[in-house]
Amino acid sequence: MINEKLHLLFHDLSGRIGGINTMWQICIAYIKKFDLERLDGKFKENITVAFRNIPSYRKATIEKLKLVIGALNKLGSRDITETLESAINHGLEELEEIEYTADTLYHQLLEHDTKENLMRFAEELEKLGPVCRSMIDAIGNSKNKLTALGKY
């Protein structure tokens, strides 16, 4: 039997992380298009919008995590709560570091849209993928442990 409230909270948390994961892939798609077609204006504008969405999703993840942790605390499974909180917070820190470096590369790209700068920006964004997957896995593991305890 699924705990519906917790289920929705997990869904929202996964959704924010999923947003980051899809958004960096969209950024890469824009970069590839830009690199192939060398069209200006709209491409840069679109890359900017997608790139700026990543920190927005990360901040939303922080808020959703608080709600999940609050709900888990009520269930009284301390180990599961702490493991999840630690895994997500670690992931969020990694995301922020990658974002910081990517932001520097992004500004270099705006100044000089060379192939090299495009690729360096893309390579930095690609680092977001494993971090997102690791956080999604942590959520899955928590669900499995709670299910085994009959709490989910």
Binding site: S14, G19, N21, I26, A29, Y30, F43
Partner: protein
């Protein structure tokens, strides 16, 4: 023939970003966060593909209802289901009954989605 794609997604940032990138693929892209609007677009525009989020906040009609009505009224339209809920019994039951063209568990793998759309677009030509 240009591929007509309808994106039904309640995450507005994701919706706008997906529309933005697929516009560049020269698809004719429609986008809405609401199930009722999606059904109206399907009725009027007859898209070739509907990317359908099943769980829609603030929508009077769910993505499940859109999948159901589309598969019943317009079986030629390819519905790609995207859900963050995973393969739960209720979702499996809906998919077995209405048989979407493709099922994606969120987070959406953008490359997988794009590859599927490109194959469908090629088939139209």
């Amino acid at each position: 023939m240009v591929l007509k794609l309808l994106i039904l997604e309640d995450d507005i940032d994701l919706l706008n970003s997906l529309k933005g990138i697929y516009d560049l693929y020269d698809y004719k892209v429609f986008a809405t966060p609401r199930g009722d609007e999606a059904l109206a677009i399907i009725e009027k525009e007859r898209p070739h593909v509907v990317l359908c989020d099943l769980h829609l906040e603030d929508s009077p009609i769910t993505g499940i209802e859109v999948l159901k009505q589309t598969s019943q009224k317009y079986p030629d339209i390819k519905v790609i289901v995207a859900t963050g809920y995973g393969m739960e019994d209720s979702i499996v039951k809906v998919c077995n009954q209405y048989k979407p063209f493709m099922f994606m568990i969120k987070p959406i793998d953008f490359n997988e989605l794009t590859d599927a759309l490109q194959v469908l677009a090629k088939d139209l030509k």
